[in-house]
Point group: C2
Chain length 118, copies 2
Amino acid sequence: MEYDVYVQTCPTRLVLDRLADKWAVLVLGKLDGQPVRFNQLKREIDGISQKVLSQILKKLERDGLVSRSVFATVPVTVEYAITPLGRTLTSTVAALTRWAEDNIEAVLAAQQKYDRSA
Amino acid sequence: MEYDVYVQTCPTRLVLDRLADKWAVLVLGKLDGQPVRFNQLKREIDGISQKVLSQILKKLERDGLVSRSVFATVPVTVEYAITPLGRTLTSTVAALTRWAEDNIEAVLAAQQKYDRSA
DNA sequence: CTGGATCCACAATGATACTG
DNA sequence: CAGTATCATTGTGGATCCAG
């Protein structure tokens, strides 16, 4: 079977839709390493709302990239962790955020130059 | 200066917003190699609308990732090409689409398993 | 603590038509 | 060919309140 992201009906487009999401990238980056609890994620990912975070986590879990573990403490504890499949993604994802941090100045400079000439 | 994508006000978030876009990923992937004309891009990126394509190209150009060249032919010819800065991104971007194509089956399987247990 | 449900405002997109 | 302009529609996210 041949897959090609450039074909609209190809299922790989579904994966791209999921990956090509700012929040998903940040969540995967935070989970790479140790399991993290819901509110801890919410605190560490500045600007994400509770609604969006729970949606993203559910999607990532459905895709098999993230696992969800419930502990019957009081109050309940829920830990999210990356799966083996998800771990094959984190290096790529990390490269993305690293690129952003490394090249932001060049991008900002390009934007200013563009805006001046416009 | 320290940058951190996990801080909401950090400019690197702008970069992530741009990169974390399905269409931007596909466009950059297509431009990696030779310059491509507008309608050729539109044809090769299945499902993208003319409006969205022109928007994405303008943003990528503003970010300094893509260059736009106009040739005074009749009718006019416009070629889009990747810039040196953009080229530093393509390997990461290519890794993303490759991951999607390589792991789609595992993802689809995970989704089916998830849906059955739900 | 971990979310689900709701309401609402705004951004994004498709379709269509038109221009240089 | 390579776009821009407009409109109508949808979706997406934020804010808030509530519950197990």
